[in-house]
Amino acid sequence: MTVEVGKARRRKEDARLITGAARWTDNIRLAGMLHMALVRSPVAHARITSVDVTAAVRMPGVLAVFTGRDLAEEQGSLPCAWPITEDMLAPPAPAVAVDEVNFAGEVVAVVVARSAAEAHDALEAVDVDYDELPVVLDLEAAVAEGADLVHPDLGSNKSATWVYDSAEAGAGGDVEQAIAEAEVVVARTFRQQRLIPAFMEPRSVVVDPTPDAVTMWSSTQIPHILRWMLAATVGVPEHKLRVIAPDVGGGFGGKLQVTPEEVIALVVARRLGKPVKWTETRTESMLSAHHGRDQVQKVVVTAKRDGTVTGMRVELLADMGAYLRLVAPGVPILGAFMYNAIYKFPAYKFICHNVFTNKTPTDAYRGAGRPEATFAVERIMDELAAELGMDPMELRRKNWINHDEFPFDTVAGLTYDSGNYEAATARAVELFGYEALRREQNDRRANGDPVQLGIGISTYTEMCGLAPSRVLGALRYAAGGWEHAAIRMLPTGKVELITGTSPHGQGHETAWSQIVADRLGVPFEDVEVLHGDTQVAPRGMDTYGSRSLAVGGTAIVLAAEKVLAKARTVAAHLMECAPDDVDFSAGTFSVRGTSTTMSLGDVVVAAHVAHDLPEGVEPGLDSDAAFDPDNFSFPHGTHLCATEVDTRTGRVTIRKYVCVDDVGKVVNPLIVEGQVHGGLAQGIAQALFEEAVHDEGGTLTTATFADYLLPSAADLPHFVTDRTETPAESNPLGVKGVGEAGTIASTPAVVNAVVDAVRHMGVDDVQMPCTPMRVWKALQAVGGGA
């Protein structure tokens, strides 16, 4: 019975989030709480020759100042949970730098004071001497012969090289042979600029070390993983550590981390025996919270003259920054399975070199590896189409997997369970008015209009629902990919759902309530979703990788089924029939063929009071379930973008944006729409606006929102969105995930449209973000523009 699932309910969490009633970490105030502020390195690479804290400790309100040396033993090394190869090079990663700093923004000292203002005042009084070392910033220079080294002890700037070869894996042919035999070869190098996740709520952490146990509140996406990792690295016994993620204002992967600041707050609070709070400033956030993307992608595609793609070879340099953060080494590897995208070509090779530089460490950022892959393949499909003189849509049609070919074993070794690229594309083409826009484009070209029109296509897919634990194991990831849910049936008929997912803006409280309401036949309002506290929701793998619904939602379904299975036994006993004769619908059990019924609420009470239960049945209906998927889910869709490029100024304006996404079954269309809009904003932002820029000394020059340009609604077009619905086969809800789709799909759609607008003038690429100056310079370089 689905009454709730599919309903565009407004989110129950929104009232508190938008009226200032939310409980952010920074709202937490404990008696005797101290405040922490951090001295950060202004230089990107240096030996620390001295840290003089004498003046700082004398400042008003200051209780203690710690250097890296003071904390060296307790702080351990920040964990990296994804050693992608057996011989991966991994430097120690201290939370507070001890002997040397490796990026500008790295913590070198910790000030603890009675107030945040006093802590900040004392920062300047800490005197640090640096003996500067050569900085390594450029990825290609970092791997060149004789390059300066970020970590001389490691002997190389290459942390690891990871290879997938379809021939070796038995999933396809040999790429070198495909290249040798190809009628057409197109090779391109793309650069994924460095991005900053830029979540709205800055990171914040409060630690309360009571004599019995330690409680940490943190603005994190991963309370469960955080607790585990902190226990493993900092030495607080896991059962003495409780981690709470209260309301969290966005993450986008940027809070999928065990941060230096969390470790420092924990160590310092324990040292002082007092609660400690730290909340970052925006500039601190931009300097030190992990960055995303930053890859050089060398891509070769081979094809026959008729447009049949025959192979692809990808070689990446992926910037890890100065240290290996939690899942950073695996981020480009998540892309390895996506370069073949929706296409059927038979040979594929992927080589990835993870590289150290003297920059802020990178890690997961919305899409994590998959946006990079999707960008490269969708961009090069357009380049191939241009080379062949084919319409880029036609080229895609020729190469994609047809809907009747599913399940489809891909050249990258995955099995796509379902999809219908024809349907999504047909709908998108219709909404977009593809042919009419092509005609207008031709007219403008013919008239030499100073404003040219471009059309960009992105027919993407992505792997979501991370992840089958055995696959993660095979990829050497330290954790599993299952998810947990528990249901507590309260005696008055209300329901508590405990989830291991950890929402930070996704609306889980609403969507999960909808699922439970349908499964148990209880009112939506009667379901309370509990999450984000390791004491309340003790098991979980948290929220990232568009996994929460596909994996966590399925765990909820399993937990509900367990409740019903037991309730059926109890109901049958009380109604004096066999369990097999009991039907359940809309919250009521009935004996088949009779008028005898019993509500779930009555069964709950009976199970709770336990006056009359069948032999061997334990009191209560509470249940617990964990779900480990046996496959990923594969959302897909077609995004079409029309841009106008002012050839005189280089300005790009999005004229029309249409996307038709297939995210499988939809629990709440309003939430899906919100995720698509936000995703598009972030993907378009990569194409046109955002870029983390460093000067030649390695200092981030885009450390405020005046320099790091986030688009707002005023900068974005009206989005025309629609969906097709091809259910996933890998979970009982038929859902695929929608958290990353917009971000993954939109970036190449926009850049393809920019290039398409000026291709006839001789431009075949524009580096992201496609700023007006870059577009203008690209035109100048080919003698175009005005």
Binding site: E284, D707, S712, D715, M773
Partner: protein, 284 residues
């Protein structure tokens, strides 16, 4: 971030404010809408020990008709300038430029005088003020003086105001019957100008009788595109004449290179935007 500690006074008259500034010396700063100053304090790029908050000085708000000119109070908020019918009628260029400043939230806090006194080369009001030959009324311990816009903007973030002086009003000559346009080029809606062009043009009998063109962010201070003005005056108000005149827009400018644009591109933008601004002003 948290600013360094400072004292705060909220005077209720210009005299009181001037006295407070004088007593505060070098380390005293005027606080108007705070939209530029507060970020500077929070990032600890400056640490004045005294802030003199002008928000209680109602005598410094509003727009007054003075016959040949308008007198605009320094504490008039951007959104008030945008909506003021006197400004819209007699100094439309200011409305148009103010429309492009930041976003509604900031326009409800930021002030007309603050934007001029801050003298940000990328700010949108100095160039229009310069183009309109506005006059700054400054009050100090020794009374008031009037400084023409051409002398007011001295360098990056530097004006002719002495540390113990206030900008109290701005006198803007009326330009009856002139067309105006502010052509701003930036990358996201709430951002400052990469380059912008303020144009006011009087057309009489199809001929350009007078022209004023001010450039934003083409040097450390706003500049007049005198070459363009010269080339326009006496020409027919045609696309061709405007295009020709606009080629002189970057003459005598000194644009910087930053993350958004290098000097060459800024010079190019100045020419294209001037053409567009003047064309729009003539058409208006």
């Amino acid at each position: 971030m948290i600013p360094a500690a400072f004292d705060y006074v909220a005077p209720t008259s210009v005299e009181e404010a001037v006295r407070a500034l004088a007593e505060g010396g070098e380390d005293a700063k005027v606080l108007a809408g705070g939209q530029s100053l507060i970020p500077v304090l929070r990032m600890r790029l400056a640490a004045p020990t005294l802030l003199v908050d002008l928000s209680g000085l109602t005598e410094l708000t509003g727009v007054h008709d003075e016959g040949d000119s308008l007198l605009i109070g320094a504490m008039t908020r951007h959104y008030e300038v945008q909506r003021d019918h006197l400004v819209r009628e007699h100094a439309r260029l200011l409305c148009l430029a103010t429309d492009t400043v930041a976003d509604p939230q900031i326009r409800h806090r930021g002030t007309f005088g603050g934007a001029l006194a801050h003298a940000d080369p990328a700010g949108d009001l100095p160039a229009p003020a310069l183009a309109l030959d506005a006059v700054m009324v400054c009050a100090g311990p020794h009374g008031t003086r009037e400084v023409p816009a051409a002398e007011f903007f001295v360098d990056y973030f530097t004006t002719a105001l002495a540390p113990d002086e206030l900008l109290t009003h701005v006198r803007v000559p009326k330009l009856p019957g002139w067309g105006a346009h502010y052509e701003k080029f930036n990358r996201v809606a709430q951002a400052w100008s990469i380059v912008a062009v303020a144009a006011a043009v009087e057309v009489s009998g199809g001929v350009i009788a007078q022209a004023r063109v001010g450039l934003t962010n083409m040097g450390p201070t706003p500049v007049r595109a005198r070459g363009v003005e010269e080339a326009l005056v006496g020409q027919p108000a045609t696309a061709e004449a405007i295009t020709t005149a606009a080629t002189r827009a970057a003459e005598g400018t000194d644009p910087t290179t930053d993350g958004n644009a290098d000097a060459e591109y800024r010079a190019h933008l100045a020419r294209v935007l001037t053409e567009r601004a003047v064309t729009a002003a003539v058409g208006a």
